[in-house]
């Protein structure tokens, strides 16, 4: 492993972490294709690396959001039961599948993510579930709006089902799964978008760690790859959040949705 490779991994990690945070996708969606297509890394090693990056960014972001009480801690803990079960089965499944099969499943996932990115621009629920109409009542201060937002959670079993699937995708492919959980929490359960995003991000670290040791035990974690990449993605996620506050625009979403579409084709036929 040369010094140049270390540098390229850190820079690649920063770039994928920045883009992931700007789009609210997390680093894994872009990191895995980067490692596979640029570094020619075996699919299982790329997924294991992505899982580590996901744990790092989730933990760093959740530390702030928990203290600001944007995270609905109790809902998160309940949904983690589903995501952890899904992730363990995902991790076990991934380790019996070939890299080629995983690469094709990942390509299909990227296709779904690119469509979800465009779909969620038009679909979100503005009115949250009233505080006395559901379970896990919570409130947080919305800094941007300068007001306290109170809500509760409706239809928990439905969101648990979505969380089970998101956890399975996380364990199988090393992504966070927030792109599926956040719209479900917002639209099905009536959780404000900010709280749904923060709660989903909070859960992702535990979900990812549920499959991390499976990959570790199978020898898929290369520290010379995973350390610089995870550090890069962590730095990139801080950068992405800052840039995101300044740049807003649908055109960014369109550009990266198109990029993901092309990457998915490349991953499918590589």
């Amino acid at each position: 492993m040369s010094a140049d490779s270390f540098l390229l991994l850190i820079v690649g990690g920063i770039a994928t972490g920045t883009i992931g945070a700007m789009l609210g996708l997390g680093g894994g969606v872009f990191l895995t294709p980067f490692l596979v297509l640029v570094f020619n890394l075996p699919m299982h090693q790329a997924i294991a690396t992505s899982i580590l990056a996901v744990i790092a960014t989730s933990s760093a972001g959740a530390a702030m959001n928990v203290e600001r009480r944007i995270v609905n801690l109790r809902l998160g803990m309940v949904l983690e039961i589903a995501t952890v079960i899904g992730a363990i089965f995902g991790g076990l499944t991934a380790n019996v599948l070939s890299g080629e099969v995983l690469s094709r499943i990942f390509a299909v996932l990227l296709l779904c993510v690119s469509f979800m990115m465009l779909w969620r621009m038009r679909h979100s629920r503005e009115v949250s579930t009233p505080i006395d109409a559901g379970v896990f009542p919570a409130s947080f201060k919305d800094e941007a709006a300068g007001e306290v937002v109170s809500y509760s959670v409706a239809r928990v079993p439905w969101v648990m089902c979505v969380s089970l699937i998101a956890g399975n995708i996380s364990g199988l492919l090393g992504v966070g799964g927030g792109i599926f959980k956040v719209p479900a929490m917002n639209i099905i359960s009536g959780i404000p978008l900010k709280a749904a995003t923060a709660t989903s991000n909070f859960m992702i670290g535990v979900t990812a760690s549920a499959s991390a040791f499976i990959y570790f035990a199978h020898g898929h974690l290369n520290p010379l790859i995973a350390s610089p990449a995870a550090l890069g993605v962590l730095l990139g996620s801080f950068l992405g959040v800052r840039i995101n506050r300044r740049i807003k625009g649908e055109y960014l979403t369109w550009i990266f949705a198109a990029a993901l579409f092309l990457i998915s084709l490349k991953m499918f036929w590589r």
Partner: protein
């Protein structure tokens, strides 16, 4: 008043656990990378991933093997969510919320089972 003081204990504790996990693991990885950067010829990657007990032993013996330091950082990061859930168990207990002590314990038991099953 008592409830407002004891409530949200768990939020603060979890926040600190996550911070310690992220920055502790990042420090170990940066140290490992820095050593590897200055002595790239001496890097020896084991044929398979070492057992966490061996990594801990290497760390406690004061060895500055870059690869082991990176492994230590990665393992610390992988264990951070475990610590976060364990902190939630203690935090919910301090808030006297028995239901969520049980919920957090269920999550922790599943994580622990996966860890033991994977490393056996």
């Amino acid at each position: 008043m008592e409830s407002t003081v004891t409530r949200h204990i768990v939020d603060r504790w979890i926040g600190w656990t996550l911070r310690i996990g992220v920055w502790g693991s990042a420090t170990l990885m940066v140290l490992g990378l820095a050593l590897a950067w200055f002595s790239p010829g001496t890097l020896r990657l084991p044929s398979e991933n070492p057992h966490p007990a061996d990594v801990l032993h290497s760390l406690l013996s004061g060895s500055l093997d870059p690869v082991m330091l990176m492994f230590a950082g990665l393992l610390f990061l992988m264990l951070t969510p475990f610590l976060r859930v364990l902190t939630a168990v203690v935090g919910f207990a301090a808030e006297k919320d028995r239901t969520f002590v049980v919920v957090a314990l269920v999550v922790f038991t599943m994580l622990l089972a996966e860890l033991v099953f994977s490393l056996r």
